[in-house]
């Protein structure tokens, strides 16, 4: 595939403010991600590696 001119591509790209659905996606991703990491860290602490 031939590469287009990036400068033109970016210059012609329309300005788009963050939509509520995007904010939701970002917020939920971070919220669920941090929560799951905390849960995993607790599990990791309670069930250490068996050698």
């Amino acid at each position: 595939m031939s590469k287009p001119n990036i400068a033109n591509e970016l210059r012609n790209a329309a300005v788009e403010p963050l939509l509520p659905i995007e904010k939701k996606l970002i917020g939920w991703s971070l919220g669920v991600g941090v929560t799951l990491l905390v849960v995993l860290a607790v599990v990791n602490h309670l069930f250490p590696v068996q050698l």
Binding site: E9, L10, I21, E22, V49, L51
Partner: protein, 498 residues
Amino acid sequence: MSSTTTTYSAGSIPRRADNVETAPRISEDWLSLIVGLVIFALALAGIANVDLLGWAVSTSAWTDITKALAPVAKSYASLGGFGSFVATYVALLVVLSVTVLALKSDLKRFALSFTAVFWIAYASWIVGSYANFAAVTPADLQKFGVNWSLKLTNEGGYIFALLAGIIIANFFPRFAEAIKAGVRPELYIKIAIVILGGVIAVTAAAKLNLASSLLLRGVAAIIEAYLIYWAVVYFVARKWFGFNREWAAPLASGISICGVAASIATGSAIRAKPAIPVLVSSLVVIFAVVEVLILPFLAQTFLWQEPLVAGAWIGLAVKTDGAAVAGGGITEALILAKNAAAGIKYQPGWILATTATVKIFIDIFIGIWAFILGYIWTNHINPTQDKAKPSEIWQRFPKFILGFLLTSAIGVYLVLGAPADIAAKVPAAMGEANTFRVIFFILTFFSIGVLSNFRTLWQEGIGKLAAVYVISLFGFVIWVGLLISWLFFHGIHPPLAS
């Protein structure tokens, strides 16, 4: 890095005017799985006392070039080092030519290009095995009669292959273009990963508790890459740099998940212009190269006492499967060497296994994440008739991972479930398969180098994209990856070598 899979319905296969199909009916993903399984199966013949791969070339640290190469099995010693090298080249040329035929690429062009790729890449590997670069312990230095060494180990040869590729890409661009048909890092690394499954299985089976614990901890990598990295990078690209959604989503996937594959999968899922993920991919490769040249040495310096933290970190921080998994190989070699110099001899394989586990866990979910994004985009952001369909999850699933899982399962079964006399022969058989894994790593590194034309960074307009990449990667991804790796892997050490 997979997932460039394109499926064609019967009616949409591109045809020439004479009604001959021009698109392959099988993807590179499936072909890499098949080639990997064939090598794995040939290696397993060793458990029936039939040595089908013993002629493959292996390289040792050297000061006398005539002693650098040798067949991997003593039963093929009569071939000699150069004979085994030529045999390996011819065998790979034939096998890979078949895959290229299946992909409907130009066979003659591939054969010529692959010849250059193989010979230059392997020559770089041989240079990297020179005692002044590779020797590690004082005993090694004495054995080779040298009084200094960079202590890069044999695996330091990957760096030499990468540098050779970078030099060609940046100083001999016409030659880089001429050998492009043989520069297939995705094909090479996918084959290597399928083989790696069997090799890791032998290591893991001996300490199944540790291996399963590592697998559970790999889940953290998925959460980090998809839910935390992606969200932050997308926000940075959209809010701080003003990229529109069509650019920000593939960029976020490229930086946070698995480089090329994730960028392409996301671009396709949100129905972005095809050129966007292609542009993002060229950046991904360049930054992956920069990371591979820096991170393994940082890991050796600062994480040598936490080997598995280092392995997980490389898997989380380096984008693209090729650079990450092969980077894990370098990291393992460097850290094992430093520990060996301190009198601690860990079993090899565990650091690389950790990197590969983390990367493969991340890869598995590319299709699902792309579907989630596709669903949101085609239903809520840019509502369209061309809605994201669940079947796209399977289309984008990296099929070579099935090969990795299969070789792992067979390997574990043979070591733990087969009669003792068979189980005892499995490590040697996988040792021969591992020789090919190493060769495919070398080809991957060289190929990545050849694709790393740093002049891309000077292209008008790329600065803004690169700025997002630099800020996200060096300001966030690397450090959060280190934190998570530390949280889940610190204090866990590979078993000591007996």
